[in-house]
C-alpha cells in the first residue's frame, strides 16, 4: 500500500517558520533574568518548570539542565515565581536592570499534595487548590512525557480515581467509554462535559456507520502532545457552576501556551507496530480460527451430525497461517512555543498513520493548533485558541455484522460464505471449504471527521480586586461515516453504499467576573458572578443506495435504487447564570456558597428555571502552629451541591413524524410530550482530606461521596391503548450512588542517582435505583408500591428498583457447580452490574541516573459483567472449542452411552454447551441454547503501558538540539481475566447506537468484537 506524506506536514512547517520569524525575541529587551531550578533534596535539575514574573505574561520554561532565561524584563523589582506540579511553589524577589542579567536560582521542595496549584472552577478568579472544597484530580504533561499516549482517553485511563475508561473496540481509531463516578441517571447520557481551554465542545460519542460498530469520541481530537494538563471535575457538588448537563462531571483540558523567550521547538518521531495478541479462549488451538492453517473442525449440531467432527479449511488463509499481521505505526509532531513582552504563542502540528492488524484497518490523524496570547495593556489579556483536527479512518467490518471479520472467521464451519469451486481446488472431499477473505474484505467502512474549535477569551483586570473574563467559543465537527460493498461483492453482487454525515456546532458565550476584597485583615472575600449561553446544533443526514451498474468507485448517484434519506435536525439552547461567594479565613479556612440558575430549551412550558445551590468548606489544618512539622500537609474538605441533566429536546413537545403510506404523506405519533418536564437534579455530598508527609514523599487523597438524583427523568411507558406513543419523559425517578476514592503518591526511594515512585488510585462505587415511577396499585400503603417501571436496556440489562443501575438480568442455572443436570430459574434473576464497581490504577516510575526512566501503568477494573455473545453464538453452532469435549460426550450419551459419562461436567458447563441441542433454553429445557448463560464476570487486569526513556547525552545531540530523548514503549501488553470472550472491556457499539439515546444506550455486549491490539513503539523527542 503506497503512503504519501500528509499535505498537513509541509503546511505546518511553513506556518511554523512564519510564526517563528514573526515573533522573534524582542530586540528591545530591557533586562534578563536567568538561573537554575533544582530539587531541594536531590539537587537534580528540574526540567519543564514555569518561571514567571507574577502578574505578567513574562516568563520561561526550564530546559533539560534546569536552566531558564527570561528576556524583556522591565526595570524594577519583581516577584519571580516558579511552579511545577509535584513541588511547592517557589518565590523570590528579583530586580531587573536595563541591559543587565540578574540571576535567581531556585531549590524546589517536593510535595505529594500541592495546595498552591491553580485550578479551574468555572469562575473568573484563579483559585488555589487549598481553597477548593472538592476532590481535585489532574494529570499534567510532565507525568505524560514518557508514556505512549495519543489522546486524553489514553491519558485518563487508570490515572484518575473514580474515572472509568473502557476501550470500546480493538480497531485503530476506536473511541472509549468514559464515565466519572457512578451513574446517576436512568435516561441521559453519561458522557462528561468537555472543555478545551475554557471552551465547551460537543462532548458525546458518535457511532460509526453500521459495519464498523464502534464509537468515536471527541476526546480523540485532542493530541496528547498539545496537552499541558487535564483536570477532572467529579460529581455534582464540584460541577454545580457548570449547571444543567454537568451531573456526569466535567473534563477540562488545557493545552500548552507560549511563554516569553526565544522559540522552543519540539519534535517527536514515533515508529512501531500494532500486534494482535492471542485471545486465549480456553485451550483453543486455533484462537477462534484466526490461526487458520490446515484443517480445522467444529462439532456437528444437527440431530444427524451431533457430536461428529465437521472438518473445514479456509483456502484464503494467509501464508503466515494467521489472519492477523503486524500493522506499522508512524507518528510525527512538531511544535514551537515562545513569545515576547505582552505576547506568547504555541503552535503545533501532528500527524499519525497507523495500520491495524488486519488489512483495511488504518487510522490517519492530523491536527494543527495555534494558541496565541496578547496583553495589549497591563490589565487586559487576550487568548485566541484555534485547533483543527482531522481523522481519516478505515475499519474492518466488525461485531455482529453479516460481513464481520470475526463473525465469519470465528464461526468456523458456520461462516456466512462457503467457498466457490474456484476457491476450493484441492480441498479433499468431506472437508468444507471456506474463502472467508472474500466476504469480509468486500466491506469498506470508512470515517472522515473534521473538527474546528476556536475560542477567544478576554480577561480584564479592572483593578487588583476586580476581574472580568469573557469567552466566546465555536466548536464545529463533521463526521462522515461511509459503508460500502463493491459491485461484484460476494453477498451483494450489485453492491451498495450507505453514507451518514453528522454535524455538530456549539456556540458558547461565557462571562464571569470576580471581586476580591478583604473584609478584615484575616478575612477575605471573593465574590463571583457570571452567565453562559450554549447553543447546540445537531444535524444528521444519511443516505443508502444500492444496485450499481458496474464496477468503479460509487457515489450516492451510482445506485439504481435508493432508500429514503434520513434527516435529523435540532437546535437547542441552554442559558444560565451563577453567583458565588468564597470567604477565606486566615488563608486556611475557606467557605464557598454558590447558586446556579438555568433555563433550557428542553424544559417544559410549565417548568420555568432550575436552581442548583452549592456549599463547600476547605480547611488547611496543617497551617496551624500546633501541627507537627513532619506531617507537612493536611487539608480537610467537604462539599455539598447540585447539578443536573436536561431532558431530551423533545420531551416537552407532542409531535408527529411524517410517513409515507404508499406514496401518500401521512402522520404518525412521535413524541407524546410533557409540558411539566424539567431537569433531573443530582445532589452530592462529598468529604475527604489531602495529606502529605515525609518531606513530600508520601501523599494521600481520600474522598467519600454520596449522591442522590431526585426527579430523575424516566421514560414512563404509556399504555398502548392510549395511542402507542411509547414513553413519556417524566421526573419520577430516584437514584442513589456512593463511593470511596483513594489516591496514594509515594516516592519510595529517592537519591540523586535513583528515584522510585509509585502512584496508585483505588475507587469503589455502587448505585441503586430507589424509585422508578412506583405506583401503589391496591391503595393499601402497608403493602408498599407494587408496580414500578422497569427500564429495559439493550442486551439483557435493566434498571429496576432496589438494584444497581444498570444491571444484567437473565435466567440462571441455579446449581451451577453441581455435577448434575442443570436447573434453571423460572424467572429472570439479577446477574450483575454493567459497569465496573472497582477501579484500581497502579503506576510506577523508576529513574536511574539523570537519563533513564522506566514507567508502567497497571489497571484493574472489576465488579461488572459482560455478555459473551461470541461464545454463545459459536457454541450453538458447534464451533466453541471449550465445548467440544462435552458436546462429543453428550453425543455419545445420546447414542446410547451411559449418562454417567456426563458426571465430570458441572451443570453450568452442560447448560452453556447446550447438551440439549434442540430448542432454546427454558425451564423445561434448561440445557438448551441460551445467551443468558453467557453473561460473565468481566473483571480484568491489564498492563496498559510500559516505557523506557533514555535521554541521549548532550554531546551526541548538541550540534542539532538542546535535548533528545529516546523512548521505547508498549501498550496493552498483558491481560489477565477469566472472561472467556474476545476481551472483557469491549463492545459492539452498534447495540448502543441502534438503541439511540436514553437508557437503551447503556447496555454492552461483546459480540465478535476485535480485541485491542498491543503496540510496540519507539519515539525520538527532540527540543531545540
Amino acid at each position: 500500500m503506497s503512503r504519501r506524506a500528509s499535505p498537513l506536514v509541509p503546511l505546518a512547517v511553513s506556518a511554523f517558520a512564519l510564526l517563528a520569524a514573526a515573533f522573534p525575541a524582542s530586540a528591545q529587551e530591557v533586562g534578563r533574568v536567568t538561573g537554575v531550578v533544582r530539587a531541594a533534596d536531590t539537587q537534580r535539575p528540574l526540567a519543564g518548570a514555569q518561571v514567571y514574573i507574577q502578574g505578567t505574561r513574562i516568563g520561561s520554561l526550564t530546559g533539560n539542565d534546569g536552566r531558564y532565561l527570561i528576556v524583556n524584563v522591565p526595570a524594577g523589582t519583581h516577584d519571580l515565581r516558579v511552579t511545577l506540579i509535584g513541588y511547592t511553589q517557589g518565590a523570590m524577589s528579583v530586580t531587573g536592570r536595563a541591559g543587565q542579567t540578574a540571576t535567581a536560582d531556585f531549590l524546589m521542595k517536593e510535595t505529594a499534595v500541592s495546595l498552591e496549584g491553580i485550578v479551574v472552577t468555572g469562575t473568573a478568579a484563579q483559585v488555589r487548590a487549598r481553597e477548593v472544597g472538592n476532590a481535585l484530580a489532574a494529570v499534567s504533561s510532565r507525568e505524560l512525557a514518557n508514556i505512549p499516549v495519543t489522546n486524553p482517553e489514553n491519558i485518563l485511563g487508570g490515572r484518575i480515581p473514580g474515572l472509568t475508561v473502557l476501550q470500546g473496540n480493538g480497531q485503530p481509531g476506536a473511541g472509549t467509554t468514559v464515565r466519572i463516578r457512578s451513574q446517576t441517571t436512568v435516561s441521559s447520557t453519561t458522557d462528561p462535559l468537555i472543555y478545551v481551554d475554557g471552551i465547551r465542545i460537543f462532548h458525546e460519542t458518535v457511532g460509526t456507520q453500521g459495519g464498523a460498530r464502534l464509537g468515536l469520541s471527541p476526546l480523540q481530537d485532542i493530541a496528547a502532545e498539545d496537552i499541558e494538563r487535564i483536570e477532572v471535575i467529579k460529581g455534582a457538588s464540584a460541577a454545580t457552576l457548570y449547571g444543567t448537563e454537568a451531573a456526569g462531571g466535567v473534563i477540562q483540558i488545557f493545552t500548552k501556551r507560549g511563554m516569553s523567550g526565544a522559540p522552543i521547538w519540539s519534535a517527536e518521531l514515533t515508529g512501531g507496530f500494532n500486534n494482535q495478541p492471542p485471545m486465549k479462549i480456553g485451550n483453543d488451538p486455533w484462537d477462534l480460527f484466526t490461526k487458520c492453517a490446515g484443517e480445522m473442525y467444529g462439532i456437528g449440531m444437527t440431530t444427524a451430525t451431533y457430536g461428529q467432527e465437521i472438518k473445514f479449511v479456509d483456502t484464503t488463509c494467509p501464508e503466515s497461517g494467521r489472519w492477523f499481521k503486524n500493522g506499522p505505526v508512524q507518528r510525527y509532531s512538531l511544535s514551537v512555543r515562545g513569545g515576547s513582552t505582552g505576547m506568547g504563542y504555541y503552535v503545533s502540528a501532528n500527524y499519525s498513520d497507523e495500520d491495524g492488524t488486519l488489512p483495511t484497518q488504518r487510522a490517519r490523524l492530523g491536527g494543527l493548533r495555534a494558541n496565541l496570547d496578547f496583553a495589549p495593556t497591563e490589565n487586559v489579556k487576550i487568548q485566541l485558541n484555534s485547533a483543527l483536527a482531522m481523522r481519516a479512518l478505515s475499519f474492518v467490518e466488525d461485531g455482529n455484522s453479516l460481513r464481520g471479520f470475526l463473525l465469519n472467521v470465528g464461526r468456523g464451519y458456520s461462516g456466512n460464505y462457503l467457498g466457490k469451486p474456484e476457491d476450493c481446488v484441492g480441498v479433499p472431499a468431506g472437508v468444507t471449504c471456506f474463502a472467508n477473505e472474500r466476504i469480509w474484505l468486500d466491506a469498506h467502512n470508512t470515517t472522515r471527521s473534521d473538527r474546528f474549535t476556536t475560542g477567544l477569551t478576554v480577561t480584564h483586570d479592572a483593578s487588583e480586586a476586580l476581574t472580568n473574563r469573557l469567552s466566546i467559543g465555536w466548536d464545529f465537527d463533521q463526521i462522515n461515516n461511509r459503508r460500502m460493498q463493491d459491485w461484484g461483492a460476494v453477498l451483494t453482487a450489485l453492491g451498495n453504499l450507505g453514507n451518514a454525515i453528522n454535524y455538530h456546532t456549539k456556540l458558547s458565550i461565557d462571562y464571569a467576573g470576580s471581586w476580591i476584597r478583604p473584609i478584615r485583615s484575616d478575612l477575605n472575600s471573593t465574590f463571583s458572578w457570571g452567565g453562559q449561553i450554549f447553543r447546540d446544533q445537531h444535524r444528521r443526514t444519511s443516505y443508502y443506495t444500492y444496485d450499481f451498474a458496474g464496477p468503479g468507485v460509487p457515489t450516492l448517484e451510482s445506485g439504481s435504487r435508493w432508500d429514503p434519506p434520513t434527516d435529523y435536525n435540532l437546535t437547542q439552547t441552554n442559558a444560565g447564570f451563577f453567583l458565588q461567594e468564597m470567604l477565606g479565613y486566615k488563608d486556611r479556612a475557606f467557605l464557598t456558597l454558590g447558586l446556579r440558575v438555568d433555563g433550557n430549551s428542553a424544559f417544559g412550558e410549565n417548568f420555568g428555571l432550575q436552581q442548583y445551590p452549592k456549599a463547600s468548606l476547605s480547611y488547611v489544618l496543617s497551617d496551624h502552629a500546633f501541627w507537627p512539622k513532619w506531617f507537612e500537609t493536611m487539608k480537610l474538605r467537604g462539599a455539598y451541591g447540585f447539578s443536573g441533566k436536561a431532558p431530551g429536546a423533545f420531551a416537552k413537545l407532542r409531535t408527529w413524524s411524517p410517513v409515507s403510506d404508499d406514496g401518500t404523506p401521512g402522520f404518525t405519533p412521535r413524541d407524546v410530550g410533557n409540558p411539566d418536564v424539567g431537569p433531573e437534579r443530582t445532589r452530592e455530598i462529598e468529604f475527604g482530606f489531602d495529606a502529605s508527609m515525609g518531606q513530600g514523599r508520601l501523599g494521600v487523597e481520600a474522598t467519600y461521596y454520596n449522591a442522590k438524583t431526585s426527579d430523575a427523568l424516566v421514560g414512563v411507558s404509556q399504555p398502548g391503548s392510549m395511542g402507542g406513543w411509547g414513553t413519556r419523559t417524566e421526573n419520577v425517578g430516584e437514584l442513589t450512588a456512593d463511593g470511596v476514592e483513594l489516591q496514594l503518591n509515594a516516592a519510595l526511594y529517592r537519591t540523586n542517582f535513583l528515584e522510585w515512585r509509585v502512584r496508585s488510585n483505588l475507587a469503589f462505587s455502587r448505585n441503586e435505583a430507589q424509585d422508578l415511577n412506583c405506583q401503589d396499585l391496591d391503595g393499601l400503603p402497608e403493602n408498599g408500591r407494587e408496580s414500578c417501571q422497569i427500564v429495559a436496556v439493550a442486551n439483557g440489562a435493566y434498571i429496576r428498583v432496589g438494584r444497581p443501575v444498570p444491571e444484567y438480568w437473565g435466567y440462571k442455572i441455579l446449581n451451577p457447580d453441581e455435577h448434575a443436570a442443570p436447573i434453571r430459574s423460572d424467572s429472570l434473576l439479577p446477574i450483575g452490574p454493567v459497569m465496573p464497581t472497582r477501579l484500581l490504577g497502579f503506576s510506577t516510575s523508576l529513574s536511574i541516573g539523570k537519563r533513564i526512566t522506566l514507567e508502567a501503568l497497571l489497571e484493574h477494573q472489576g465488579g461488572h459483567y459482560l455478555p459473551n455473545y461470541t461464545g454463545y453464538q459459536d457454541e450453538r453452532r458447534g464451533v466453541w472449542y471449550p465445548c467440544y469435549e462435552i458436546q462429543k460426550v453428550m453425543a455419545a450419551v445420546k447414542a446410547g452411552g451411559s449418562a454417567s459419562l456426563l458426571d465430570p461436567y458441572t451443570a453450568i458447563e452442560r447448560a452453556r454447551c447446550a447438551t440439549n441441542i434442540t430448542g432454546a433454553g427454558s425451564s423445561a429445557n434448561p440445557a438448551g441454547h441460551d445467551s443468558n448463560y453467557w453473561i460473565d464476570k468481566a473483571d480484568f487486569w491489564k498492563l496498559r503501558s510500559i516505557s523506557l526513556s533514555l535521554e541521549l547525552p548532550e554531546k551526541w545531540v548538541q550540534r542539532y538540539a538542546d535535548r533528545a530523548t529516546l523512548i521505547l514503549a508498549g501498550r496493552n501488553l498483558l491481560k489477565w481475566t477469566d472472561f472467556q470472550g474476545t476481551d472483557p472491556e469491549i463492545e459492539d457499539y452498534q447495540d448502543r447506537a441502534g438503541a439511540g439515546s436514553g437508557a437503551g444506550a447503556y447496555g454492552r455486549r461483546e459480540y465478535y468484537s476485535l480485541p485491542p491490539a498491543r503496540s510496540f513503539l519507539a519515539t525520538l523527542r527532540v527540543t531545540f
Partner: protein, 424 residues
C-alpha cells in the same frame, strides 16, 4: 477618563455585542425541522395525512404482527437467531412485555379513532359526512379493531372520563369486534356519500364487516356483505421501500423463518402458498431453510380483505348450514382467482371441514388470520376444530407493558393479568 475605565467600558461593549448580534441565541425554543407539532395538524389540508397515517399504522401493525401470528399458527416455523420467546412452540406466557405487538395494534386503532375526532372538529359535521378521508379512517379503525379482536385474549381501550381520555380496563376481545362493526358501518355510509373516491373503501368495508359479523355469529348478515366484494377485489396494507415488508426482509435478507418445519413444506405447487426450498440453513445454523415466496419484494403488500376470502367465508357459512354443494361452489369461485382446478368437497362433515380449513388457510396464507381461525373453531369443537391447534395457546395476553402502564387493568384469576391465553 482613565485608561482602566475606558477599557472596562470597552470590555462591557465587547461583552454585549455578541448577545445583541446573536439575538436568536437568547431564544430558548427548540428548533427541530422535520417533526410536526400536534397543533399544526388542525387544518383541513392535514386530513388526508391523518387518514394516511392511520393506514400507515395499520400496515406497521400487520407487518410486526403477521410474523408472530404466522409462527404461532404454524404458517411459518422459526429457524433463526431472533428471540421470539415461546411463540413458535405455541406458548404465550403473560410475563412478556408486549405479546403480539399490542402497542402497534393499539396505535393503529387509536390513530384512526382519534384522527376521526380531529377530522370532525376541523371539517365540521357536513363536510365530514361525505369526505373520503374520513371514510378511509373509519375503515382503518375497523381493521385495527378486527386485528385486536382476532389476536388478543382481552383488549383495552382509552375511555372518555370527565372530559379526559384515560386508559380503560381490560374487556372481552369481542368488544373490539363490536367497535369494528360500528366503524365499518360508518365507513360504508360515508364512503358511499363520498362517491367515486370512496368506492373501494366501501367495498373493503363490506369485506371487513362481513368477517366481523361472522365472528359475531351473524352469518346471514355476513354473507350479504361478503357478496358485495368481487372475487378479484383486494384491499392491501401497502408497503414501500420507505416502509418495508419485514416478512420479506426476514426471509430474504435473513433466514429467520422457514416453511421447512410446517405443513406447507409438503404442499408443493399451490399458487396460494408459494415457496422454494434451498440448500441453506436458517440463521440458527441448524434448521433447513425453505423460503416463502408470497412476499417476493421488499415492498410486497399484505392483503387485509379480499374477494377470495369472502368466497371462503361464504363457503363456511354454507357448510355451517350443511350446504355442501354451496360451500363447494364458493370454494371453487375463490380458486378461480389463481386459476386453480376445481375441487370436490367431501360430503362428510369431518372431511368437508378439513377441506374448508385447508382452503381457508391457503387462501389467507401469511395474512395473520389463521390463529383466530384455530381459536374460534376450537371453541366450537369437532368437526370444525383443527387437531393441529391442540395444546397450543391461541390468543395473546395483554403484555406486561400495558399492564404496568394501565392502572385499570387488574390482576385476574389464576395469577394471570389481563386475561389468559386459553380464555375464549
Amino acid at each position: 477618563m482613565s485608561m482602566t475605565r475606558k477599557l472596562t467600558r470597552l470590555a462591557a461593549l465587547v461583552a454585549l455585542l455578541p448577545f445583541a448580534a446573536c439575538s436568536d441565541v437568547l431564544s430558548l425554543d427548540v428548533e427541530a425541522p422535520g417533526r410536526i407539532s400536534d397543533t399544526d395538524l388542525n387544518i383541513a389540508g392535514a386530513m388526508a395525512g391523518i387518514a394516511a397515517g392511520a393506514s400507515y399504522n395499520l400496515t406497521s401493525a400487520l407487518d410486526a404482527t403477521v410474523q408472530q401470528l404466522s409462527m404461532a399458527s404454524l404458517d411459518l416455523g422459526h429457524g433463526g437467531s431472533y428471540d421470539f420467546g415461546a411463540i413458535p412452540i405455541g406458548i404465550f406466557k403473560a410475563d412478556v412485555e408486549d405479546w403480539g405487538e399490542y402497542t402497534t395494534m393499539s396505535r393503529a386503532r387509536w390513530t384512526a379513532e382519534h384522527g376521526l375526532m380531529r377530522m370532525l372538529e376541523v371539517l365540521g359535521a357536513t363536510a365530514y359526512e361525505k369526505d373520503a378521508n374520513v371514510a378511509k379512517a373509519y375503515l382503518m379503525g375497523g381493521f385495527a379493531n378486527r386485528l385486536l379482536g382476532e389476536t388478543q385474549c382481552r383488549v383495552s381501550f382509552d375511555d372518555l372520563v370527565d372530559g379526559e381520555y384515560v386508559a380503560g380496563p381490560d374487556r372481552p376481545h369481542t368488544d373490539a369486534f363490536s367497535r369494528a362493526d360500528s366503524l365499518f358501518t360508518r365507513a360504508i355510509a360515508i364512503g358511499t356519500a363520498a362517491g367515486t373516491a370512496g368506492a373501494n373503501i366501501v367495498t373493503a368495508a363490506y369485506g371487513g364487516r362481513a368477517s366481523i359479523r361472522a365472528w359475531q355469529g351473524r352469518w346471514d348478515e355476513a354473507v350479504v356483505d361478503a357478496a358485495k366484494v368481487p372475487t378479484t377485489f383486494v384491499w392491501n396494507s401497502t408497503f414501500s421501500s420507505a416502509n418495508t415488508n419485514y416478512i420479506w426482509v426476514e426471509t430474504n435478507n435473513r433466514r429467520e423463518m422457514t416453511l421447512y418445519t410446517v405443513m406447507w413444506n409438503s404442499v408443493p405447487n399451490d399458487p396460494r402458498v408459494p415457496w422454494v426450498s434451498t440448500t441453506q440453513k436458517g440463521q440458527d445454523g441448524q434448521t433447513p431453510f425453505t423460503r416463502q415466496m408470497k412476499y417476493k419484494t421488499i415492498d410486497a403488500d399484505i392483503p387485509v380483505t379480499h374477494g377470495a376470502e369472502m368466497r371462503v367465508l361464504q363457503a363456511e357459512a354454507a357448510l355451517r348450514k350443511g350446504d355442501y354443494a354451496g360451500a363447494q361452489g364458493f370454494l371453487n369461485q375463490a380458486r378461480t382467482k389463481w386459476s386453480m382446478a376445481a375441487i370436490t368437497l367431501p360430503t362428510t362433515a369431518p372431511e368437508a371441514w378439513a377441506t374448508l380449513r385447508f382452503e381457508r388457510y391457503a387462501t389467507l396464507f401469511l395474512e395473520g388470520r389463521k390463529l383466530w381461525d384455530w381459536r374460534r373453531w376450537s371453541v366450537e369443537g369437532a368437526p370444525k376444530l383443527d387437531p393441529a391447534s391442540a395444546g397450543r395457546d391461541m390468543c395473546f395476553p395483554i403484555g406486561q407493558g400495558e399492564q404496568r402502564a394501565n392502572p385499570n387493568i387488574k390482576k385476574g384469576a389464576g395469577g394471570q393479568w389481563g386475561g389468559c391465553p386459553t380464555c375464549g
